[in-house]
Symmetry: C2
DNA sequence: CTTGAATGTGTAATCGGTTACAGGTTATTT
DNA sequence: AAATAACCTGTAACCGATTACACATTCAAG
C-alpha cells in the first residue's frame, strides 16, 4: 500500500497538501489539487486508517457483542446492525460472548485497545463496571436497564400475549418453559406469561431450563412431557425450544394444536417452515439491529437524541400450532 | 486509557523499559520490573493496539467476509472461525458481501486500511485481482479454486450421494433444484447430482433458481410442483429450499417420503427439527470454520503448511424425508 | 499605492507504541 | 588486574497520518 509520503513525492508537494486534498479542508490551488489527485489515482492510494486512528484517537470501528451468532435469532440482529453501519462506512469488530462475563470484558478490552468509537452489546449485565466506565457510547441491544441507550422488544408484554392467546384458544393446563434465569428477555417473557395466567386464573406448571441451544432443547422437550404429560398448552422460551417441543409432541402422537397448543418467541425464519408452522411472538430483529446501529451513530456524532430508549412492540403471529379462535 | 508514558512516569523509568516489561524482551532488572508492573496494575494499563499496529505494520485483526450471515449455514462457519481465532487473541472484522463484487472490494479495501493480517472469505471470485494481489494471506472458506489455501466440502460428491440415495430408495422421476449459477458449491452439487443420475439412467428435470433466501424459497417450491407435478424425488439446493419444498409438498397433500422424497444440503440445525425431519447431505460447518481459522493463523505465522487445501468429506444423513432402504 | 484579508504551501509536532543504538554498570575470564 | 561479556536503562527515530503555525503570494478595499 502506498503511503501519503509517496503520493506527496509523486505529486511534487508536501504531505500536508496531500492530506488537505484527501480531507477537502484548508486551501489547495486547483492545479495542485489535480496533480495530487492524479498521483493518488496513479498510486492507487488509500489512507492508512491505523495512522489516522492513532492521531485522531478514534476509528471507524464499532464493537458488536452477541451471546452466540449460532442462535438463529442473532444473525438477523447482526445483519441489521451491519447494514446500517455499512451505509456510514463504519466497520464491525465482532465477538460471541456466550453470556460469559469474562469473555465480555476481554472483548470490551480489545475493542478499546483498537479505538472503537462505540459498542453495541447484548449483555445481561448492563450495569457492570465494564460498561458504565467505558468512556464511549454503548447501545444495549435486545437488553435494557434503567435509562441506558437501548433497543429492545417488550418481552413482558410478549409473555402476556402468549399466555392470553393460549387461554383464549382453550388451553386450561399450561406449561411455561422458563429460559435461563440470567437472561433478561427470557425472564421478562416468563413473568409476563405468569402474570397473565395468574390474572385469568389458569392453572400452570413451570419447567426451568438453562440455555437456548439446539442440542439441549431436545432434552427439555422430553423432560417436559415426562413431567407434565397433561399439558394442553406450552409456552416455550423461544422458537428453537418450541420446535423441539413440537417435534417431541408429534413423536408422542399428540395432535397439534388439537391436543396441545404450542407458542414460541422470536419468530425466527424457520418458524414458518415448520409443519405445522409455529405460532409465535414476533420481534422485529432486523429492524432492531438497524435501529441500534442508527442510535449508536447518533450517539457517536453527538447528535441530539430524542429518545435513547427504543422499545419495539411485539406481535402475536398466528400459525398452525394454535387453534383457530371461534369468531 | 492510560498510556505508556504515564506508566513510565509513575514507575520512574523510560517508556522503553515499560515496553520491555510488557513484551518480555531485552534486559530488565527484577526490581525495575516490579515497579513497572505495579504501575501498570495501578493505572490499569493496556497497550494501545493502534499504535502498536502502526509501528509493526500489522495488527491482531483478521477480516471475515461471508455472503450473508442470515443464511443459517454461515453462523456455524463464523462461529468456528471466531472460536479458533479467539484462542490466539485475534479479533474479527466482519462483513456481509451479498455475493456482490462491489461490496467485497470495499470490505477488502478497508480491511487492508486497518492492517488486518489475514482474510477469510467465502467468495465466488477467488481468482479476482482483489484477492490475488492482496499481499496478505487469504483462506477461502466453503469455496476453492486452483491451489489457493482453502477449506471446503466435497460438493460434487455430495450431489452424487444425494442422487444416489434417492435412486436407491426408489425415486424414478427426480427434480433437481439448481442453485445460483455463480455460487460454486451450488454448481458442484448440481453437477454431481446430474452425473449420478445420468450414469444410473434415471430421468430427471431441472428447476433453476437464483438465490438461497428464505423469502424466495417458497416461491420456487410452488413453481416446482406446478411445473413438475410428477416428481417423486427432489434434490434441493440447500436445506432452506428443501424445507420450503417439504412444506409445499405437505400442503399439497403429498405424503413424504412415500409419494415424494426430499433431500437437502448443509444439515443446518433446523433440519432435524422439521417434521418429518429432513434427510440431507451433511457438511461439518463449525469444523470447517475452525480449520480455516487455524490455517490462516499458520499462514500468518509463516509456519510450514503441509496442505493448503483442505477438503472435507460430506455425509448422507438419513432422516425422515427419504424412505428406508429395504435390507 | 498601501494594507489587511484571503489564498496556498511547507515544516514540524503529535498520536502511542517499538526498537536500534549508545553508554554505563556489574559479573566473569584469563 | 585487565579484558570481555552480560546486564540494565535511556534517547531518539520510526510507523503514516493530521494539523498548528509560519511564511509567502495574490486579491480587494480604501
Amino acid at each position: 500500500m502506498a503511503t501519503i509520503k509517496e503520493v506527496a513525492k509523486a505529486a511534487g508537494v508536501s504531505v500536508a497538501t496531500v492530506s488537505r486534498v484527501m480531507n477537502q479542508n484548508g486551501y489547495v490551488h486547483e492545479d495542485t489539487r489535480r496533480k495530487v489527485e492524479d498521483a493518488i489515482r496513479e498510486l492507487n492510494y488509500t489512507p492508512n486508517e491505523v495512522a489516522r486512528s492513532l492521531y485522531k484517537r478514534k476509528s471507524k470501528l464499532i464493537g458488536l457483542l452477541l451471546p452466540d451468532i449460532t442462535n438463529p435469532y442473532f444473525p438477523q440482529l447482526a445483519r441489521g446492525v451491519e447494514d446500517r453501519l455499512q451505509e456510514q462506512d463504519f466497520r464491525l469488530i465482532f465477538g460471541n460472548s456466550d453470556e460469559s462475563r469474562q469473555k465480555e470484558t476481554d472483548y470490551l478490552q480489545t475493542f478499546l485497545q483498537n479505538n472503537v468509537v462505540g459498542v453495541i452489546s447484548s449483555t445481561n449485565a448492563p450495569d457492570h463496571d465494564m460498561y458504565t466506565g467505558l468512556g464511549i457510547p454503548v447501545v444495549f441491544l435486545d437488553r435494557t436497564l434503567n435509562d441506558n441507550p437501548a433497543v429492545y422488544a417488550d418481552g413482558r408484554e410478549g409473555g402476556r400475549q402468549a399466555a392470553t392467546e393460549l387461554v383464549k384458544r382453550g388451553s386450561t393446563n399450561i406449561t411455561i418453559i422458563q429460559g435461563p434465569a440470567d437472561v433478561r428477555p427470557a425472564m421478562d417473557r416468563f413473568h409476563g406469561a405468569v402474570e397473565a395466567l395468574e390474572s385469568s386464573g389458569t392453572s400452570y406448571e413451570v419447567l426451568k431450563t438453562t440455555s437456548f441451544s439446539f442440542t439441549e432443547a431436545e432434552g427439555w422437550a422430553k423432560e417436559l412431557f415426562r413431567r407434565y404429560p397433561d399439558s394442553d398448552g406450552i409456552i416455550a422460551s423461544n422458537d428453537i425450544v418450541a420446535s423441539a417441543v413440537l417435534q417431541e409432541a408429534v413423536g408422542l402422537g399428540r395432535r397439534v394444536p388439537q391436543d396441545v397448543q404450542i407458542i414460541g418467541f422470536d419468530d425466527i425464519p424457520l418458524s414458518r417452515l415448520l409443519i405445522p408452522s409455529l405460532s409465535t411472538i414476533h420481534q422485529p430483529a432486523y429492524e432492531m439491529g438497524r435501529e441500534a446501529a442508527d442510535l449508536i451513530i447518533r450517539l457517536i456524532e453527538g447528535q441530539y437524541i430524542e429518545s435513547r430508549h427504543i422499545q419495539y412492540a411485539v406481535e402475536f403471529i398466528e400459525r398452525q400450532t394454535t387453534r383457530k379462535v371461534e369468531s
